[in-house]
């Protein structure tokens, strides 16, 4: 592999890893703080991507906005959806056993899938990136790298920094971190745990949907995308340690690297590699790399 190709694959692996981190961070927070296994998290990613596809013409027609306007609308919409979903459905799952949560959210996947099928369709769709991000940067003589992919990585890094800031510098972040290690304590401190949970859940949904939205121009929009992301994200969360956002970042980058380079170097084994990695890490550290908080 020559240097240019290697560089391209590195950039791809970082971009993929960062995108995974965006989705997985929501999953690990919901998992770690509310103790809910949410199999439908991949559906939020899919919903985000389909929003990028479906909202674009609506936003263009109504407000005359382009990509970023669609993005803004999508984020607001997903926060609202997340809020309502938590209030109507997920808040009932907190007290239930893991197995019941698994099955109820599995049922939710089926529902979301069919709703997507009814509202949109079952086809694959492309989503064009905005014009000013559609170019490429030359790398060496023969290769060039799409600007949009750098944009994806950039957005993810910004969000990661933002999350770090919120977690470590704000009261809200402190409450969230406390909530992930000791739920009862936070409640007894008089903090309305219900509102905190609702907020965390909505944020998780928005992160996943946003990831789907910005990934859409690169990955296209297709029915099975939620599932694919879901399983990989579970691997990320488990490797990183449930409830640990730091762990999710490290694990996501690791998985991004293994998956990207795996596909290039060992294409027939690529699918298996991340599971082998997960099995290996869990055998070394049965509770993931990091603890919660």
């Amino acid at each position: 592999m020559d240097l240019a190709t290697f560089l391209v694959q590195c950039l791809n692996s970082v971009q993929f890893g960062l995108l995974l981190f965006l989705v997985a961070s929501g999953l690990t927070l919901i998992f770690g703080i509310m103790g809910v296994i949410n199999l439908a998290h991949g559906s939020f990613y899919m919903i985000g991507a389909y929003m990028a596809y479906g909202l674009a013409p609506i936003v263009a027609g109504a407000v005359g906005g382009g990509f970023f306007a669609t993005l803004a609308f999508g984020i607001v919409l997903s926060v609202v959806v997340g809020y309502l979903l938590e209030w109507a459905f997920f808040s009932y799952l907190y007290e239930r056993e893991h197995l019941q949560q698994v099955l109820m959210t599995y049922g939710l996947i089926l529902v979301f899938d069919e709703l997507r099928s009814i509202i949109v369709d079952d086809d694959v769709h492309g989503v064009p990136p905005p014009d000013w991000l559609a170019g490429s940067i030359p790398l060496g003589d023969l290769m060039s790298y799409p600007v949009y992919r750098l944009f994806i990585s950039g957005v993810c890094i910004l969000l990661a920094i933002g999350m770090y800031f919120v977690f470590t510098r704000t009261r809200l972040g402190m409450m969230i971190r406390a909530g992930s290690t000791n739920r009862e304590m936070v409640q007894s401190l008089g903090i309305d745990i219900k509102i905190l949970y609702r907020f965390v859940f909505a944020a998780g949904v928005a992160l996943a949907a946003l990831a789907g939205m910005i990934a859409a121009p690169v990955s296209s929009v297709y029915p099975g995308m939620g599932e694919q992301v879901l399983i990989i994200c579970f691997v990320v969360v488990v490797i990183g340690g449930i409830g640990s956002v730091r762990g999710a970042l490290l694990a996501a980058l690791l998985i991004g690297a293994v998956d990207t380079f795996g596909k290039v170097l060992l294409p027939s084994a690529a699918g298996v590699l991340i599971y082998v990695l997960m099995a290996a890490i869990l055998l070394w550290k049965p509770a993931g790399l990091f603890r919660a908080g």
Binding site: V102, L103, M104, I118, V238, A269, G271, A279, A287, G288
Partner: protein, 331 residues
């Protein structure tokens, strides 16, 4: 765990019904019921792990699919293999995988355990899907079902749907009885103790790991029997037999029927399969039948939410509702 007399009577009545069923049913009905019987065996295998031992395994499809593929792979291309070696070989393939998966997964607990079992089953899926072992992503065919013969006398013709139906029923009854006996034994009681309170079992002197591993292998073997039958039924296997959707469906079956009871697994298999048929039927659902996942998903959610004890708990729930709390306390 004592089984009430009414439960035994119901089981025998159900068995009688299943024995007589082909006389009344259409070809489609027999075919569908055969499929359900096979799924019931799969559900039983999962009930052993989840309901009896307390190990929530999200990878049951791997045992099912590996045996199915082994059945096709081990059979000669144009001849009938003898069932006497084909069945044990296919089951052994699943059991070995279960041994490895169990040995490694049992190092983790709780949610991590669920995820690791899912990961292993995904590994198996990708190996079958992407490597030459699986023979391609579209699946492979079993040209000739195995022969069931002693010497030169044929006992069953597995290509005959009626014979196959009874073979599947025999397999289900055998697995059911075998598990019922096993669960009554010291081994079974130890599993129950491990499920309820593993720490106490260890404090009393039980090395819990070998018991859990044995449950894994037994569960994998029984799921393997189901996979073996499935491969023969349609003569075709594809990688989707190892998909996590099937693992999820198996979990739905045992919860729907009622966790902690062997007959719950069988009831759940029937209930889920019939629900699927219901939602997919054009006659009943019209155009909506194209989007049958919607009804199915909503049903799963409703069942788990409203029937925490599964369908087995329904009579008691109804009695409590109709007669008041006083009556519900009676054993």
């Amino acid at each position: 765990m004592a089984v009430s007399r009414s439960a035994v009577v119901l089981c025998l009545a159900a068995l009688a019904g299943l024995l007589a069923w082909p006389a009344f049913a259409s070809d489609f009905g027999v075919d569908l019921t055969t499929k359900i019987l096979i799924y019931a065996i799969l559900a039983l295998s999962l009930e052993l792990l989840v309901g009896q031992t307390g190990l929530v395994c999200f990878g049951q499809a791997a045992f099912f699919g590996i045996a199915a593929y082994a059945t096709v792979r081990f059979s000669p291309e144009y001849d009938a293999a003898a069932i006497w070696w084909l069945l044990p070989s296919a089951v052994a393939a699943s059991a070995v995988f279960a041994l490895v998966m169990g040995a490694l997964s049992l190092r983790t607990r709780g949610v991590y355990f669920i995820m690791v079992t899912l990961a292993f089953s995904q590994m198996a899926y990708y190996v079958i899907h992407d490597t030459p072992v699986g023979g391609g992503t579209d699946g492979i065919y079993l040209n000739v079902p195995p022969s069931v013969a002693v010497g030169s006398t044929q006992l069953l013709d597995l290509s005959d749907p009626l014979h196959f139906y009874y073979a599947a029923l025999l397999a289900l009854v055998t697995c059911f009885v075998m598990l019922a006996v096993a669960l009554r034994s010291r081994f079974g009681r130890a599993l129950a103790g491990i499920r309820v309170n593993e720490q106490r079992m260890r404090a009393a002197g039980f090395s819990t790991y070998p018991y859990q591993l044995a449950a894994f292998v037994l569960s994998g073997a029984i799921a393997g029997i189901a996979g073996f039958l499935f491969a023969i039924k349609d003569g075709f296997v594809n990688p989707e037999l190892l998909s996590w959707h099937l693992s999820g469906a198996a979990l739905v079956m045992i919860i729907l029927g009622g966790l902690g009871h062997l007959r719950g697994a069988v009831i759940g298999a029937f209930a889920l399969s019939l629900l699927e048929e219901l939602f997919q039927s054009r006659e009943l659902m019209g155009g909506f039948s194209d989007h049958w996942h919607l009804g199915l998903g909503a049903s799963i959610i409703a069942c788990v939410a409203l029937l925490p004890r599964g369908l087995i708990g329904l009579p008691r729930m109804l009695r409590a509702r109709l007669l008041g709390a006083r009556q519900a306390g009676a054993p």
